[in-house]
Amino acid sequence: MSEQLGGGGFEGMERATHADGAIAVANPRGSGFRRELERAVRQMVAARWPVFAVVFLTLAAIAATFGSWLAPFDPNRQNLVLRLADPMAAGPDGSTFWLGSDALGRDVLSRLLYGARVSLTVGFAAIAVGGTLGIIAGLLSGYFGGWVDDAIMRLGDIQLAFPFILLAIMFLVVLGSGVWNLILVLGIGQWVTYARIVRADTLSLREKEFVEAARAMGDSTPSIIFRTILPNILAPLTVIASFNVASVILSEAALSFLGLGVPPEVPTWGSMLAESRDTLVANKWWLAVFPGVAIMLTVLSFNILGDWLRDFLDPRLRERT
């Protein structure tokens, strides 16, 4: 794995030497990084779609961070006189419901902006939880082998044999809904993927010369695992993480839709869709269309980004994701 990933770096360095050898030799790392970044941007622009994904996700991140300032209304402010207003309809005091209002007269746009916060926070936090657990489990499994490996990997097999959505339902019903429980359950749902990949890479790195060298120099085992091996296996994980954020956001939406997500006073895209069902037959389409589009574009962006990242790092990773 390290050779594959190093390939890009060497290529960059080689080019750097051709261009201005002195700098490349003096500071190969900095220059290589800049080259890599340039290559990344070039490839991104050439592929077109990743640019769209980055732009959209930046907007979503802005909405998630500054939603409270950007939103024209308090997302929970009800206005029973102006219920189910059409998009672009006039709101109270000369304002406008750009995306309409819902059955309680709450502004759809404001709720949508607040919803970005839950989706993105849960998405990233769950990956952080699942990724950390999985990376540690995979490192231990791959480095120590033997019964540690057996125990961890069999545990993973067992979890994968259990349809994840059912596991999530079971725990959330009993633990109760809430952002932290959601993050925990969705995170635990993801660890096996990371553990398997990290384990395979650790197994192959364990016998490499540079690990051998670290061992010979008397590095402690934790230092070898976390300082020598870990940095060399992180790159392919970013690809997995990107696809994973997409699927976690989908799961979060589904669980929120089932009423298992966050408490009802927190607007989320999934719960907005759940509420939209009551007014569907009355053809209040905007309540169902906008939150769905928000979910779709976010998930799509992460999927596109994952695809691009995979091709950028190493097209051969295709087989594993």
Binding site: F164, I165, L167, V173, A253, G292
Partner: protein, 329 residues
């Protein structure tokens, strides 16, 4: 072969034990489960009596063992909201869920092949572009939103398909009434179309990409070049040489497919008011009817585990290399 089967069976048993343990612990994880079974205004004596009656005063491992003993008899206890055995209610809803899952699975597998082939043999053209883009989109749409959009469009706008309801096929078939079953079949399928598409979208998109990429890979293989250089027609090369191997990866995931689809089924049933286990679970979740949730989850999980076991065992027969590797893929 024998050793592999034994190991695989043993693994399934462990998983089933894991499932029961998880569903048992789920009941305990929220604190004293007695409070789920008594009304909010129950007196301390009533709570004590209920706790003793339901056995929650016993040590945990004793409770678990008796939970498992009841499970083996299919006894999940009484549903809190229906006041009848939870398993009975779940089993009643099972055929409808199986119909929807099979229908969606068929859509996802059968349609993926022509789409994937079309994209692969026209690589780089507009065909490829639109199929690849569509499958990228398909993997990004939540199944329940797909359902809602189809209700809006097909159900309310052009009024082509029914947006709710279910006509049973398996239930009369299983009770021996073959005539009614097949008389129902056209209407069964008619009602399955919208929820079926909603459930299948994600898998269909993923399978299409899978067929496309594995066909592209196979088309580069030596034996395909050999077949071409022998002067065989492109069609013959495709059907008799390339496609055979190209859809192997799809067959591999048939068992896992059920698990993916299940996630969709649970939510999509709710959207279409489809009387299966998913809608039942949804109602049970909202009423915190834990025995009913347990029964539904354990039943679906067991079916999933059994199916995967079957697929694995069939796979060993189909592909002898699996045995040597000692596991699947």
């Amino acid at each position: 072969m024998g050793a592999y089967v034994v190991r695989r069976l043993l693994q399934s048993v462990i998983v089933v034990v894991g499932v029961t343990l998880v569903s048992f612990l789920a009941l305990q994880a929220g604190g004293d489960p007695t409070y789920l079974f008594v009304s909010e205004r129950a007196s301390q004596e009533e709570i004590e009596a209920t706790r003793r009656a339901l056995g929650f005063d016993r040590p945990l491992h004793v409770q678990y063992l008796s939970f498992v003993r009841d499970l083996t008899r299919g006894d999940f206890g009484q549903s809190l909201s229906y006041r009848q055995p939870a398993m009975e209610i779940v089993l009643e809803a099972l055929p409808a869920t199986i119909e929807l899952t099979l229908f969606a699975m068929a859509l996802a597998l059968i349609l993926a092949i022509p789409f994937g082939v079309l994209a692969a043999i026209n690589r780089g053209t507009a065909w490829d572009g639109s199929i690849t883009t569509a499958s990228m989109l398909g993997q990004s749409i939540p199944s329940f939103w797909m359902g809602i959009m189809m209700i809006l469009f097909f159900g309310l706008y052009i009024r082509l398909f029914p947006i709710s309801g279910h006509v049973p096929f398996l239930t009369p078939l299983l009770s021996g009434d073959v005539g009614t079953a097949f008389a129902n079949l056209p209407r069964t399928l008619y009602h399955l179309i919208l929820p079926g598409i909603a459930v299948a979208t994600y898998s269909l998109a993923r399978n299409t990409r899978l067929v496309r990429s594995s066909l592209l890979e196979v088309l580069e293989a030596d034996y395909v070049r050999t077949a071409r250089s022998k002067g065989l027609s492109e069609k013959r090369v495709l059907i008799h040489h390339a496609l055979r191997n190209a859809w192997l990866p799809v067959v591999t995931i048939v068992g896992l497919e059920f698990g993916f689809l299940l996630g969709g089924v649970v939510v999509v049933e709710t959207v279409f008011s489809y009387p299966g286990i998913g809608r039942l679970l949804f109602a049970a979740i909202n009423q915190r009817d834990i025995p009913l949730v347990q029964a539904g989850v354990v039943l679906l999980a067991s079916i999933f585990i059994l199916l995967n076991l079957l697929v694995d065992l069939i796979y060993v027969r189909l592909d002898p290399r699996v045995k040597l590797a000692g596991g699947r893929g």
